[in-house]
C-alpha cells in the first residue's frame, strides 16, 4: 500500500501505511422489506439499500464515501453503527462483531463510534440548551462526577470546536448554521470516540462557512487522531478531506482507491462519469471539457440483477462487451494489479 504523497495533507496522518484496521466491514447487507396488505402484511419485495459492502478503516484515516442519492452511502453508515440492524454481514471493531452485540455491550462500543449529521437544524433539539445537548452523551455514560466537572468538560469541548463557552446557556436557534454544526461536532467528540461518521456534514452550509467546518474536521483529526468515514455528494470536498475514497453505486462499492489514484487513474466507468460531471470553477477549462453524460436513470434497488448494476447505463459496455458478460456475470471488487490497494468492480476496467 502506498501512502498518499503528503505535503501535510489532507492531514499529516499517514493513513494507508498505518497498521491494523480499526474497523472492518465485511459483506454488509441492509435490506428493507416492502409490505403489502392491511391486515395480513406480507413481504412483496425488498429494497436492497446496501448489497454487499466491504471496506476497512485505519486509525487516523478518512475514508470518503461518494455516490448519488439513493446509492446507499448513508444507509451503510447507519448499518455499520447498528442504527439499522444489518440484514447480513459483519462489522468488526476491536475484536468484536457489532452485528452480534446487544444492549449494554453494544452501548459500550458506541462510545467509540459517533456520528455527525447533515442538517444542523434538524439534528439538535430546539428546546435544549447547548449545555444539555453536549452534556447528553457525557451523562449517558456517567462520565462527569459532578455538575461542576460536567460544565468544565462542556466548556472545553466548546473551545475545541471553536465556540465561545459563554454561549453555554443558549439554544440552537440562537446560532448560525455553521455554529450549529460545531455543536454537533462537539457532541460527537464528547465521548472521545475513535471513529466519527460524518454524513454530509457540510452540505447544508454556505460555501464560506463550509470551509470553516472542513478545516475544523481536519484540524481535529490531526490533533486527536480520529478516523472519519466522510459521506458527501460534493466530490470536491471529499477529495479535499479523504485519504481514500470509495465510490458507491446502487448499494455496492464499485471502486475504492487512495485519494490521488481515484481521481487521476479512475477505472470504473461510473466513477469516470461521476467525477466528470463535477463542474470546475474555471471557465476556459469548463468549456474545453469533454463531458460523458450518463443516460437513463438509476435502476430500482428492488430488482435483483445478475450482472453489473451499471450495465444498463454504461458507455463502456456498449463498446467492449461483445459477449454480454456485463449482463450475465456480476463483476467482483478486485485489485487492479497484484497487491494494489486500488480495487474496482468492472470486467473491462483496463479498457478505455
Amino acid at each position: 500500500m502506498t501512502a498518499p504523497n503528503g505535503h501535510g495533507s489532507p492531514s499529516s496522518t499517514p493513513a494507508s501505511q498505518a497498521g491494523d484496521p480499526l474497523l472492518e466491514v465485511m459483506d454488509l447487507h441492509m435490506h428493507f422489506p416492502v409490505h403489502e396488505g392491511i391486515v395480513f402484511q406480507r413481504e412483496v419485495s425488498r429494497v436492497r439499500a446496501v448489497n454487499g459492502v466491504s471496506f476497512d478503516l485505519r486509525p487516523g484515516e478518512t475514508l470518503g464515501l461518494v455516490g448519488e442519492s439513493g446509492c446507499g452511502k448513508s444507509t451503510t453508515a447507519r448499518a455499520v453503527l447498528q442504527l439499522h440492524r444489518p440484514t447480513a454481514g459483519r462489522v468488526i471493531f476491536g475484536n468484536q462483531d457489532l452485528c452480534q452485540l446487544q444492549g449494554p455491550e453494544l452501548r459500550a462500543v458506541r462510545r467509540d463510534l459517533q456520528m455527525i449529521f447533515q442538517d444542523p437544524y434538524a439534528s439538535l433539539d430546539p428546546r435544549w440548551t447547548v449545555a444539555s445537548i453536549i452534556a447528553e452523551p457525557l451523562r449517558n455514560y456517567g462520565l462527569a462526577k459532578s455538575g461542576h466537572e460536567l460544565r468544565e468538560q462542556i466548556s472545553e469541548l466548546m473551545l475545541t470546536v471553536g465556540l465561545n463557552p459563554s454561549f453555554i446557556g443558549r439554544y440552537p436557534h440562537e446560532f448560525s448554521g455553521g455554529q450549529r454544526q460545531r455543536i454537533g461536532v462537539a457532541r460527537a467528540l464528547a465521548l472521545e470516540p475513535k471513529v466519527i461518521f460524518c454524513d454530509e456534514p457540510v452540505s447544508a452550509l454556505d460555501v464560506s462557512v463550509q470551509a470553516q467546518i472542513v478545516n475544523l474536521l481536519q484540524e481535529l483529526q490531526s490533533r486527536l487522531g480520529l478516523a472519519y468515514v466522510f459521506i458527501a455528494h460534493d466530490i470536491a470536498v471529499v477529495r479535499h478531506l479523504s485519504h481514500r475514497v470509495a465510490v458507491m453505486y446502487l448499494g455496492r462499492i464499485v471502486e475504492i482507491a487512495d485519494r490521488d489514484a481515484i481521481y487521476s487513474e479512475t477505472r470504473h466507468p461510473y466513477s469516470k462519469a461521476l467525477l466528470g460531471a463535477v463542474p470546475i470553477p474555471d471557465p476556459p477549462l469548463e468549456r474545453a471539457r469533454e463531458r460523458v453524460l450518463l443516460e437513463g436513470s438509476l435502476p430500482s434497488p428492488k430488482d435483483e440483477r445478475q450482472g453489473c448494476d451499471f450495465a444498463s447505463r454504461c458507455p463502456l459496455r456498449k463498446r467492449v462487451d461483445s459477449d454480454d458478460r456485463c449482463r450475465s456475470e456480476r463483476p467482483k471488487l478486485l485489485p487492479i494489479a497484484k497487491d494494489s490497494s486500488h480495487k474496482v468492480a468492472c470486467h473491462y476496467h483496463d479498457q478505455d
Binding site: V207, N215, R239, A277, P283
Partner: protein, 343 residues
Amino acid sequence: MSDPAKPLPVLELDDLRVRFKTDGGMVHAVNGVSFRVDEGEALGVVGESGCGKSVTNMTVLRLIPTPPGEVSSGTIKYRGTDLLKLSAKEIRKVRGGKIAMIFQDPMTCLNPFLRISKQLTEAILLHSDMTPDEARERAIQELERVGIPDAAGRVDSYPHEFSGGMRQRVMIAMALCTDPDLLIADEPTTALDVTIQAQILDVLRRLQAEKGMSLVLVTHDLAVVAGMCTRVVVMYAGRIVEEAPVDDLFADPRHPYTIALLGSVPRLDDPVGRHLTPIEGLPPKLAEEPTSCAFAPRCTYAFDRCRAELPKLEPDPDGRLRACFVTFKDGVPVEPVDAGGAA
C-alpha cells in the same frame, strides 16, 4: 430595438431596492441593484444564502408577496417597459410568457394532483391562441426537446412518477413552452445529483443556443457559473459587489468577497493539500440599509474608509465593475485607491 446603434438590453434593473416588514423589524433584502441582460446572453448571479439574489430575480416577475415585501425604489425594464408599473393583469401576460422562471425544487413547483399534460397546456393556452389539441402537441414537443424519453407516452403522468432530474426537465419544458426570450433559473440544479446536474445544464446550454434566449442563472455554485455564463454579478448583503465577464472574474477577481469565495471552495483540480480559506464571521442581518461596506467586518483588507463609507459599483479603468476601495491585481491587493493603510 428602436436605437440601431445600441440594441436595448432584454432586461435592465436600475437601483432596485426591496425590503420586508417582519416581526423582527425591517429587513433590507435588496439595496440598490443594477444590472442588465443582453440579447442571447447568459448572466450568472452568484452569492450565498440571504444575499438577495433570489429576491432580486423574483421581483423581476413580481413574485414577491406585498405586503410584507415592498419595492421601495428602482425600475425593472423588460425591453424598455417598466415591469414594476404594470397592472396585475399585464404582468400575468409577461410572467410565464416572455419571461419564464424555474426554481430549485421541482417537486414543490409542480402540482402533485395534476397531470403533466394539464400543467403544460395550461401555460400554453394562457399565452397563445392554440387549440387544446395543438397545445398538447406542443407540450409533447417540448418534453422531447428537454430529453424526456417517450414524451408522448409520459405526458399524462403525474409529477410523482418522474425522478428529480426528470421533474426538473418538466419544469424547463413548462418554462419554455411559451417561447420566452428570457429564462430566469433560480438554483435549477441545487437539489440534483452531479450527474443529473450535468444533464440539466447540458439541456439549458443547448436550448439557449437553439432559441437564442437570454438566461439569468442564479446560483451559489461558482463552478456551475463557470461552465454556463458569459458574464457574472456577485452579490453580498443585497448589493452587487463585482460584475465581470466570466473568464476575467475567475482569472482576476477584484473584490475581496469574490476572492474569498473562490478561496473557500475546494476544487476537483486543486493541487493536493491546498488550504481552504474560510470567510470568518457571518453575513450582516440587513436590519438597516448599509451605509458602509457590508463586507468590511469579514474582510481581510478593510481599512477606515471601508467602515465609514459605502463603496459604489464603479468601473475600473478597463471597464470592469466593482464596489471596493482597495485595488486588486490577480487576487492580491495592490494599493488602496485612496490614501489609507489597507492590508
